[in-house]
């Protein structure tokens, strides 16, 4: 009992540190978004909604929100499509190779995003191998740059989230017993019907979780957008950085952040509400 109590207290200590380092700055941050900027990084002393009104009525900002959502959505979809088959094969591998592949994946997810993105600029840049290959394949017809546009950012985001997606989906697939697949096949299902009637429904709750995590990461991604978008792809994180560094307008940056966070939270809640009943994920465990 006493040991248990100490353990709880230790948990509380960690919670307190997190609260102090996260919630307190957030409070000042959110508060700042309700004051007007009076230039030179200074803020007024009258509470106002002006920052929000300005953002929500300006086409430029609304388009930036739309762009951020679209890029994140596309990157999430592409990431899932790439990660799902990989995770499936990893989860169904029975040899010792598996452990090494998972370790490799884990290591690759530790590599700094800046390193990954700079690698991509080399690959996609006009002197890089991929545009060169495209030029050869199209007989010189292809001349457009692969860098500094939306698709470059999507590629960067996919690379950013892929290891995590594979790891998450690996766990999801591993939780679906192999015997369920065999049962479906022996009782007459084709491979496609097996995926449609058994694997996808059972993986759906986990798939949704993975999608949301990746989507949230994409919505906040700054490095990919700024380095691969090269100023042409203005997403909300990029705009926030500009507001702070170029315009020294802290309240506007704060308001943009609050709106971005609110949008992300809203989308997550929405996804959880329309998500097919959670009971099915429980049933997988019961069957396993």
């Amino acid at each position: 009992m006493k040991v248990r109590r100490t353990y709880d207290l230790l948990l509380l200590a960690a919670l307190a540190v997190s609260a102090l380092l996260f919630l307190v700055p957030q409070f000042f941050f959110v508060r700042q978004s309700f004051y007007e900027s009076i230039g030179m990084g200074l803020t007024g002393d009258v509470l106002t909604l002006a920052n929000y009104v300005k953002i929500l009525t300006d086409r430029f900002y609304l388009e930036a929100f739309g762009r951020t959502l679209a890029l994140s959505g596309v990157a999430t979809g592409a990431g899932l499509l790439l990660a799902l088959p990989t995770a499936y094969c990893l989860a169904r591998l029975r040899s010792g190779v598996l452990r090494w592949l998972v370790v490799l994946l884990l290591i690759s997810s530790f590599v700094s995003i800046v390193v990954k993105v700079l690698g991509l600029t080399l690959l996609l840049g006009s002197n890089g191998p991929i545009p060169a290959l495209l030029r050869i394949l199209t007989g010189g017809l292809w001349s457009a740059s692969l860098l500094y546009n939306g698709s470059a950012v999507v590629i960067g985001l996919v690379q950013y989230t892929l290891p995590l997606l594979v790891m998450l989906l690996f766990g999801v697939i591993q939780n679906i017993p192999r015997s369920l697949e065999e049962a479906a096949l022996v009782h007459g299902a084709s491979d496609w019907r097996l995926v449609k009637r058994v694997l996808l429904p059972l993986a759906l709750p986990g798939l949704l979780t993975a999608a949301l995590i990746s989507f949230n990461m994409n919505m906040g991604a700054f490095t990919s957008a700024v380095l691969l978008g090269g100023g042409n792809v203005l997403t909300i994180p990029v705009l926030i950085q500009r507001k702070i560094i170029l315009e020294v307008d802290y309240p506007a940056a704060a308001a943009l952040s609050v709106l971005l966070t609110a949008a992300v939270i809203l989308i997550n809640l929405l996804a959880l509400v329309i998500h097919p009943r959670g009971r099915r994920s429980v049933q997988i465990e019961a069957a396993a």
Binding site: P177, S179, L180, E182, A183, A184, L185, V186, H187, G188, A189, S190, R193, R197, V198, P201, L202, R279, R280, V282, Q283, I284, A286, A287, A288
Partner: protein, 368 residues
């Protein structure tokens, strides 16, 4: 009718499965007749499950053929083989109701909805689970889940029913109930059934014919009674039913009768089962119920006898086990219908008939 009689015969010819260096199944030849209930019995790792999986189509044989109804199905995927299968972990689809699970095979075969519904109702009646249509597998007990799994694999009228240790996860009482249930349903449908288990009692309760496998080969194949009364190898004698083993050396031999000097110094007369020669190390096998305690009512004339000391009695209701120790301190089990109230520690003489004493060559390595 004549054609139908061979439609669901399963024939295995020279079936071999090799994984890299290890040969798991080393050449199986077996013919399963129409409507027969076959049990593949053996210790874990004997290749019985691999054999079943080759019949189902999950594992491709390294060599040899699997035929169902006279047609070689080696190259057919599981879904094209028209077999039913029940798994150890039930493998019910947790995202589907009982009715959806049972109807799965028919829906995948594009049966008309009315047919799916009527057949599902029939199956629910067969497994006596009417009213459970809308339940999910997680809301059922283990026994109910396994009955639904059975119904699912029978609903589309497969040619052959395969069962891979389906009762392994259930407790003893429920297992016996399910064994009766399986027998009833199998008899009612007369479906060719191949059942895998490592439990010899289960095999005896279910099988028309038991195929005992050991180390990738068929050791012996026959009616449960035949296996029990007339084991052809020491492995069968030890694996099917309980046995007392007495090691010794052959003294002499006349036709199929051998005289063995046991390691406790007794002379035993036994039936030769392994072509043994004088001087050879052998093991004599006697079933516990074939042993008796020698007393005035049970004289030892013409019988083999051993001196022993009573260690304890174990009461099982319908029978009593007397556990004895021979001179070497090895346990002997005597199964009697009613134990004479002998005190523990009593010196007794155990008797058994020569025709109940089977003599096998001793295994060459001590491990087996």
């Amino acid at each position: 009718m004549e054609a139908k009689a061979t439609m669901s015969r399963v024939t295995l010819k020279g079936l071999v499965k090799r994984y890299q260096q290890t040969e798991v199944v080393k050449g199986i030849d077996l013919a399963v007749e129409e409507g027969e209930f076959i049990v593949l019995l053996g210790p874990s790792g004997c290749g019985k499950t691999t054999t079943l999986r080759m019949i189902a189509g999950f594992t491709e044989p390294t060599s040899g053929t699997v035929s169902i109804g006279g047609e070689i199905v080696n190259k057919l995927p599981p879904r094209a083989r028209n077999v039913g299968m029940v798994f150890q972990d039930y493998a019910l689809f947790p995202n589907m109701t009982v009715a959806e699970n049972i109807g799965f095979g028919l829906v995948e075969r594009r049966a008309a909805p009315q047919r799916v519904n009527s057949r599902t109702a029939e199956m629910l009646a067969l497994i006596r689970m009417g009213g459970f249509e809308r339940r999910y597998p997680s809301e059922l007990s283990g026994g109910q889940q396994q009955r639904v799994a059975l119904a699912r694999s029978l609903a589309y009228e497969p040619r052959v029913l395969l069962m891979d240790e389906p009762l392994g996860a259930l407790d003893q009482k429920l297992r016996e109930e399910m064994q009766r249930e399986f027998t009833r349903i199998q008899r009612a449908l007369a479906i060719t059934t191949i059942f895998v288990t490592h439990d010899q009692q289960e095999a005896m309760a279910l099988a028309d014919r038991i195929v005992v496998m050991n180390a990738g080969r068929i050791e012996q194949c026959g009616h449960p009674e035949e296996l029990y009364r007339n084991p052809e190898t020491l492995f069968i004698a030890k694996f099917v039913g309980r046995s007392n083993l007495f090691s010794g050396v052959v003294q002499s031999r006349t036709d199929a009768i051998v005289i063995v000097r046991s390691s406790t110094g007794h002379l035993l007369e036994a039936r030769d089962k392994g072509g043994v020669a004088p001087g050879q190390q052998v093991v004599c096998v006697v079933r516990p119920e074939r042993l008796f305690i020698v007393d005035l009512d049970h004289p030892a004339t013409g019988q083999n006898t051993l001196a022993a000391k009573l260690l304890r009695r174990s009461f099982f209701g319908s029978s009593v086990d007397l556990v004895l120790l021979d001179r070497n301190g090895q346990e002997i089990i005597v199964q009697v219908s009613d134990g004479a109230p002998l005190p523990a520690g009593e010196d007794v003489t155990v008797g058994f008939a020569p025709q109940d004493t089977l003599c096998f060559a001793a295994p060459s390595d001590a491990a087996s």
